[in-house]
Symmetry: C2
Subunit: 304 residues, 2 copies
């Protein structure tokens, strides 16, 4: 099955203790689509400016990502500049230039409207709903958001949350959205807003899934060389949603597997700047790391 | 098999956002012994002052903890005062009065010297080695330490590490001990100092085990009511070492199970102040939470 994603395509300038890159391909929808493309067909909805080079379009097409919904308008592409310290936990944003993203109103090509799986990356919750209205009969809808919308557009965000099946956010966002410092209580509050499943991303500490009173804890893959965490959350979402779109099985056991595939894609992504690592994986490497997660977490039951 | 532990017995005064307690029973060896007592016989080596009340001795004896090695000397018992914020991650120490602990030189009763499993809680690394020299033929030795010794008695600590099989420390201590911000690299460096197994405790994020090139990741149990994290690391060590002493099986599969039992005991401990929760568990509750950890971490392999 194929998956439609709306989000940003951007140029990132990133500095970490291990190097720096200038105006490389980035953006939530770019990372998401690339990660998801290993599992399913992806239809991308985003906006770029006249400065966006052909080589990046060629790359997206090489990953068989449908870019009919990638609108090009007069002006400059979204730019983000950030820096990480040795902890590599949270980026310090140095500069954000929305440019053409500022007035983005996503329009789905006719061919996208019968997609069954939808991912609304971190954009204005008003726009998230506009996108959703353009999809005829979605079977699975997931979204991301950020502190900017939680603080500034809370009411609209809550309306979006009523329409989604799965919310993926980080722990700080979960605390801010719910007003609860304890994550278990925060999760219960957030599930009461609408989503049946909440996934809390915790960076180097992995992810937690909350659903129908149950919790699943997945670790992050311990890596010895983390170069750049930019896009890790989007790659997590891409692997996660890509696997669900591929299997069209939304039972909890499959959602748990999807979380591991998300963790796998995030772990590859942080091993290099920009999309350098995830642009050319093979499915064997992905399966191999999934199996590594099995070994990483395995312990016997009490009858063994 | 029985287990000998050396560490502190103290009075703790603790304030968290959920309450406060004054001069309650605490100390690394107290938490450790109580947690371990659900799995094996425990022989305690520590020091108390003349102010230590009979009721606490009665409690320790009720847990079948051997207190022949609990020396009582003239003076006041060790006191610690700390406070936690809403994050409940790290205590802010407000006051430490070593009192009789200042001049403590642990002496093992003759009856302790043939113990096969030894835990050296966080004390001066010189004393850790003195204790070890008094044990005839230990089969498993583990130790804890802290930033105070890493910074102030590094050379002595490294000498102790050459003699231990398992080191249990937290992530900040692992980074400080190795000088490496990346935990995988930090672990490799620390294993080169001597211990065959390193366990890194990460509080609410669980624990990581490093051993012979392999890694095991255990989550912490997501709790909705964390009242007081004091002693969680010691309870982890107590459950972990207690289970190993009970089974006397030091293979990796059993070490992984022991890590889950450690996590179980830590999770119970933080649900109440002092030893209030772990002083009266039954083994059914412990097994039940172990099974909860199985459900919490379970995901299928790729052939399912």
């Amino acid at each position: 099955m194929s998956l439609v994603v709306v989000g940003s395509v951007a140029f990132d300038s990133v500095k970490t203790p291990f190097g720096a890159v200038d105006e490389v391909l980035g953006g939530s929808a770019t990372y998401f689509s690339t990660a998801a493309s290993y599992f399913t067909d992806v239809s991308l909805v985003a906006v770029i400016g006249t400065d966006f080079p052909e080589k990046h379009l060629t790359f997206l097409k090489s990953r068989k990502i449908d870019i009919d919904g990638l609108e090009r308008v007069q002006g400059r592409t979204f730019r983000w500049k950030g820096e990480y310290g040795y902890e590599l936990n949270e980026a310090k944003t140095l500069d954000t230039q929305l440019n053409v993203f500022q007035t983005f109103r996503p329009k789905l090509p006719e061919s996208y409207r019968d997609r069954k799986v939808v991912f609304l990356a971190n954009i204005d919750p008003d726009l998230q709903r506009e996108v959703l209205e353009q999809v005829k009969q979605p079977e699975l809808v997931a979204c991301d958001t950020m502190n900017f919308w939680i603080a500034g557009k809370r009411e609209s965000l809550i309306r979006t949350l009523k329409l989604v099946d799965i919310l993926l956010i980080n722990d700080g966002e979960a605390r801010e959205l719910s007003g609860e410092p304890n994550l278990v209580k925060a999760a219960r509050a957030i599930l009461s807003y609408g989503p049946g499943t909440l996934i809390i991303k915790r960076g180097e500490y992995g992810a937690l899934m909350f659903r129908e009173g149950r919790i699943f804890a997945a670790p992050a893959y311990p890596l010895e060389a983390v170069f750049d965490p930019t896009g890790a959350g989007d790659c997590f979402a891409g692997g996660f949603m890509g696997y669900l779109a591929n299997t069209m099985n939304f039972e909890e056991s499959n959602i748990r597997k999807a979380i591991i595939f998300g963790s796998v894609m995030a772990s590859f992504n942080v091993e290099a700047f920009s999309l350098d690592k995830i642009k050319s994986l093979d499915y064997g490497e992905i399966r191999g790391r999934y199996e590594e997660f099995r070994k990483l977490t395995h312990f016997e039951d009490l009858t063994s």
